[in-house]
Amino acid sequence: MTELSYRDAMREALREALNRDERVFLMGEDIGRYGGCFAVTLGLLEEFGPDRIRDTPLSESAFVGAGIGAALGGMLPIVEVMTVNFSLLALDQIVNNAAALLYMSGGQFNVPLVIRMSTGGGRQVAAQHSHSLEGWYAHVPGIRVLAPATLEDARGMLWPAVEDPDPVLIFEHASLYNMRGDLADTTGDITSAAVRRFGDDVTIIAYGGTVRTAIEAAGTLAEGGISSEVIDLRSLRPLDTATFVSSAVRTHRAVVVDEGWCTGSLAAEVCSRIAEEAFYDLDAPVRRVCSAEVPMPYAKHLEDAALPQPADVVEAVRALGA
């Protein structure tokens, strides 16, 4: 086991993919000479050269679309978009092309493309760099949406995403890049949710940056004698419904933690599935802890208030009478 950061783990995964298959190449804004806006790709230009580590103009639609085209042309592109907020400039390419081409062509043209982007708040970068819009992408058929929350998933989810014949979006919560730890073995699984903490009294469902929030809350709850099971969704589309529903059936209570806005959120989808499949096993209504429905404010006290905090999760669980 080696001590490293989430950023290092992701870089190792990229390096592995570049070494494993010569069709793999990277492109995005400032991923080469600059080393990546979060330094994930630092050093890869020197190692793999400018053909495979391609700095792009600030043209999200063109370079994401070019990733789709290159995938159609037999390559295995990994495209980096700086933040999910910027990805809206490429929304046409992702939704109208990447997600639709296989179906629209009657099965002729699949798009083996990976798009990585940062998401989430907590860094005081305000309303155009902090939102969690991955739930929008999880709405769209034809793409796979992943949210690695651990070092192991940062390291382990990339290669199966590259190997996947269809477009895969990977959301990396920006607050995770500096998370350090020992890298355990990775599974290479991109389909299942994972139980991050076992418990009996309540199921707390989270993903990406909110997994840490949920685990911290579970620790506090344990001190008060409440045993929480924490589930990390890992894959936002498709959802591994069986894992969180069976947990809710067993604990009889569920809280969903999602940094997206509450209305029309991924959390809403998870709640619906629990209501549809586990209604008669519940002892209390399902609760959501989401971001406040405001554009993300800059000032720290306001941003903290807008984002789901461990104390909010603790309060939500206690309100269920667990």
Binding site: A62, G65, S105, G107, P238
Partner: protein, 343 residues
């Protein structure tokens, strides 16, 4: 002509003596598109075809002239007005007609319809109905060829309307800055749906826009199939030889409305009639006739062969089957995809 422009208008009216057999082939290809589309209008009124139907009638020289200059390994990215491109590229008329009728025998299994024709064997990548949305795809296809060092050209069709989209400018710049083998073919029919070019562009010289990205840009008489073929051949060979992206502005005109829904209130009838005088099919057949290379009998023979092909396509489409509803979810994801979770 401005200093920026590296091309200039390509000569039309090239001598066709000595190549008249090829010219007759071009005429036949244009006629196939014209007669096919005229038949689709009938089928539309009979409600055999539904949805949007954008006709190419009047613009056939662009489709045929460009496709004649390509090689089988080249790639094509097209628009929602692509029946002509598909047929000229060599896609089966049967499969295209079946697609329009929503049959599983269609080139996209009836999933796409008129606007989304796809065909892997001829490297025909749609049928893209978001204006400008196909340009980044073409840049990416060319990037794949560039990285694999394949001498292949990706042709990208779009209309004048696409020039107002950001994706045009982003794609032109990206292809140029990376020197990618894309041939951008702008079919300038002077209208973005119902809005005239000079009402939506501050600079109506479209070649100038491409040239400003240091992309060699030529204006071509898009009503003259031989001029289109000549220009495309020269541009494609330059692209194939490592000359980076090129841009052709094919000046053309659609004789019909934008789609079957369009009452065509925004065009002067005299303008339409003036352009019809330059019908690419009539012009070429008249020239061939005047030069003694095409008799009335020859033309009748071609027409009846094409009629037979079109009717065969209709028969094929009518006899086709509807995809079973159990296949509704097929191809949302690849069938070899990892995992088995439901969406």
């Amino acid at each position: 002509m401005t200093e920026l422009r590296s091309g200039g208008i390509r000569p039309s009216g090239i001598e066709i003596d000595g190549t008249h057999e090829h010219a007759i082939h071009l005429l036949r290809q244009m006629l196939r598109i014209r007669r096919f589309e005229e038949r689709t209008v009938q089928l539309y009124s009979e409600m055999r075809i539904r949805g949007f139907l954008h006709l190419d009638i009047g613009e056939e020289a662009c489709a045929v002239g460009v496709m004649e200059s390509l090689r089988p390994e080249d790639a094509v990215v097209s628009t929602y007005r692509e029946h002509g491109h598909a047929l000229a590229r060599g896609m089966s008329m049967r499969a295209v007609m079946a697609e329009l009728e929503g049959k599983v025998e269609g080139c996209s299994r009836g999933r796409g319809g008129s606007m989304h024709l796809f065909d892997a064997p001829t490297r025909f990548y749609g049928g893209n109905a978001i204006v400008g949305g196909g340009l980044p795809l073409a840049v990416g296809l060319a990037l794949a060829d560039h990285l694999a060092k394949r001498p292949v050209v990706t042709v990208c069709f779009f209309g004048d309307g696409a020039v107002a989209e950001g994706e045009f400018h982003e794609s032109m710049n990206l292809a140029a800055v990376w020197g990618l083998p894309v041939l951008f073919c702008c079919e300038n029919n002077l209208y973005a749906m119902g809005t005239a070019l000079d009402r939506y562009e501050s600079e109506t010289d479209l070649s100038l826009k491409a040239a400003s990205y240091r992309v060699p840009a030529w204006e071509v008489d898009g009503m003259d199939v031989i001029a289109v073929e000549e220009a495309t051949r020269a541009a494609a060979e330059s692209v194939r030889g490592g000359g980076g992206p090129h841009f052709l502005e094919l000046r053309t005109y659609r004789f019909r409305a934008h789609s079957m829904y369009d009452p065509d209130r925004y065009r002067d009838k005299n303008e339409i009639e003036r352009w019809k005088q330059r019908d690419p099919i009539g012009s070429l057949s008249n020239r061939l006739g005047a030069d003694g290379h095409l008799s009335e009998e020859d033309l009748d023979g071609i027409e009846s062969e094409i009629q037979a092909e079109v009717e065969d396509a209709v028969t094929f489409a009518e006899a086709g089957s509807l995809e079973p509803l159990s296949d509704l979810y097929r191809f949302v994801m690849s069938e070899s995809a990892t995992g088995g979770a439901t969406p």
